[in-house]
């Protein structure tokens, strides 16, 4: 069962990339996040982290470790809902393919 799901997921991902839907979804998400102010909130958080750590000693790993969980949490529900809706639509469209 698990393997089926895994195979299924791989197939769906492939489909997403092939049709270009993945890129479109990514752009849509980015635009929506900027619109709702998510990016500015996260930037303010970044500034605090950097001031804490010191400007010279910031590394990518540090940033990622600090920022990503906060970023995931800060996404507004409306954006989340809309994106999920689009993904489901895509799946439903390509279910019969």
């Amino acid at each position: 069962m698990r393997r089926d799901v895994q195979i299924l997921r791989a197939a769906i991902n492939q489909k997403l990339i092939e049709t270009g839907e993945r890129e479109r979804l990514k752009e849509l998400l980015r635009a929506k996040l900027i619109e709702c102010g998510w990016k500015d909130q996260l930037k303010a958080h970044c500034k605090e982290v950097i001031k804490e750590k010191g400007l010279e000693h910031v590394t990518v790993d540090d940033l990622v470790a600090e920022i990503t969980p906060k970023g995931r949490a800060l996404v507004p529900d409306s954006v989340k809902k809309e994106l999920l809706q689009r993904i489901r639509t895509f799946l439903a469209q390509h279910a019969s393919l």
Partner: protein, 348 residues
């Protein structure tokens, strides 16, 4: 693929939903990572804190939210009640009326010349029965010709002396108002060219009223077609001198259309007109006119003359002066300011 199709349709929604959630999570993670990379690059390149301002400046440019003020803190109609001092008449004028007032005061806008024209026409109509024709010309023309020449603009109606706004007493002070005429206008002897410099004379001779242009373009005295520098007597004598005793003295200089030149009876006119452009045409033109002059009143330059006369048709009123120039040419090779009164001296 068929197996997957079947499995896809056979899966319940929860599995699909789980897949959708995973896809969504992947997308969000991509965005976060992208953001982190941007920030890290900004930090390392040094432009991350560039858009921050210090608290002092923040306080200066804070948004103002008081009634009666805009967000910058400025009052709305602050300039309505301000008054400006006009540099021309030294009156204090309201700010919103300042520009139109300047236009009228300096006499440089479109409307001001139109209004001045109308006023002149009105005052001329009123004064026509009162005084002599020549005097009217003198008084009315002062503001457009001699005084205003000093301003650099030929048709500038600067401080129209005939404006009804001015007091009546000003009417007699025209000479002083228009900035001390360089020319001594005298009805009997005409203008004295010796007092003029070459530039003044050039501008004087080249910008004679041209009735073909609209009134609104220039401030023109609309009454008389004759130039004020010579009297009718002078014109008559000159015409008789050149055209013979049977010359008809036209009431109005109407022969402005020179395109169809009648060869027989206009030869004298042509030859006279040879001198019209001598002061301001190119040397080649004046050179050709010189040679034709020496040959006598020849027809050889007729085509060039008709060309010249097309340009200078308004100079017919100065025909008398041109002929005067012709006789003097033989004495001096190229006089810059041809002394017109000499011909009148001969005749008189």
């Amino acid at each position: 693929m068929k197996m997957e199709e079947m499995s896809l349709s056979g899966l319940d929604n929860s599995k699909l939903e789980a897949i959708a959630q995973e896809i969504y999570a992947d997308l969000v993670e991509d965005s976060c990572l992208g953001f982190c990379f941007e920030v890290h690059r900004a930090v390392k390149c040094g432009y991350f804190f560039l858009d921050d301002t210090d608290p002092d400046s923040m306080k200066d440019f804070e948004i103002v939210d008081q009634p009666g003020l805009d967000i910058f803190g400025q009052v709305f109609n602050q300039w309505k009640s301000k008054e400006c001092v006009c540099p021309n008449c030294s009156r204090s004028i309201a700010a919103s009326r300042f520009a139109p007032h300047l236009e009228k005061c300096l006499g440089m806008g479109r409307n001001s010349s139109r209004i001045a024209n109308r006023r002149i026409a009105n005052s001329n109509n009123m004064n026509k029965s009162e005084s002599d024709q020549e005097d009217n010309d003198d008084i009315n023309d002062n503001d457009w010709s001699y005084g205003s020449e000093k301003k650099g603009l030929w048709y500038l109606p600067f401080q129209n002396p005939n404006s009804p706004r001015r007091s009546k007493s000003l009417k007699h002070k025209n000479g002083e108002l228009s900035n001390s005429d360089p020319f001594k206008y005298n009805n009997s002897t005409g203008i004295s060219y010796e007092t003029l410099g070459p530039e003044e004379l050039r501008s004087l001779l080249t910008t004679v009223r041209d009735q073909g242009r609209g009134e609104s373009d220039y401030f023109l005295p609309t009454r008389s077609l004759r130039c004020p520098q010579h009297t009718d007597e002078q014109r008559r004598t000159v015409r008789i001198y050149f055209l013979g005793p049977s010359a008809v003295f036209p009431e109005v200089e109407s022969s402005l259309d020179n395109d169809s030149f009648d060869m027989t009876d206009s030869q004298a006119l042509i030859s006279r007109l040879q001198w019209d452009g001598s002061s301001d045409l190119s040397p080649s033109d004046s050179g050709s006119s010189k040679t034709s002059e020496n040959q006598g009143w020849g027809l050889g330059t007729n085509s060039s003359e008709s060309r010249k006369t097309k340009k200078k048709k308004s100079h017919l009123s100065l025909v008398g002066t041109a002929s005067g120039l012709g006789s003097n040419k033989k004495k001096k090779p190229k006089p810059p300011a041809p002394p017109t009164p000499s011909i009148y001296d001969d005749i008189n």
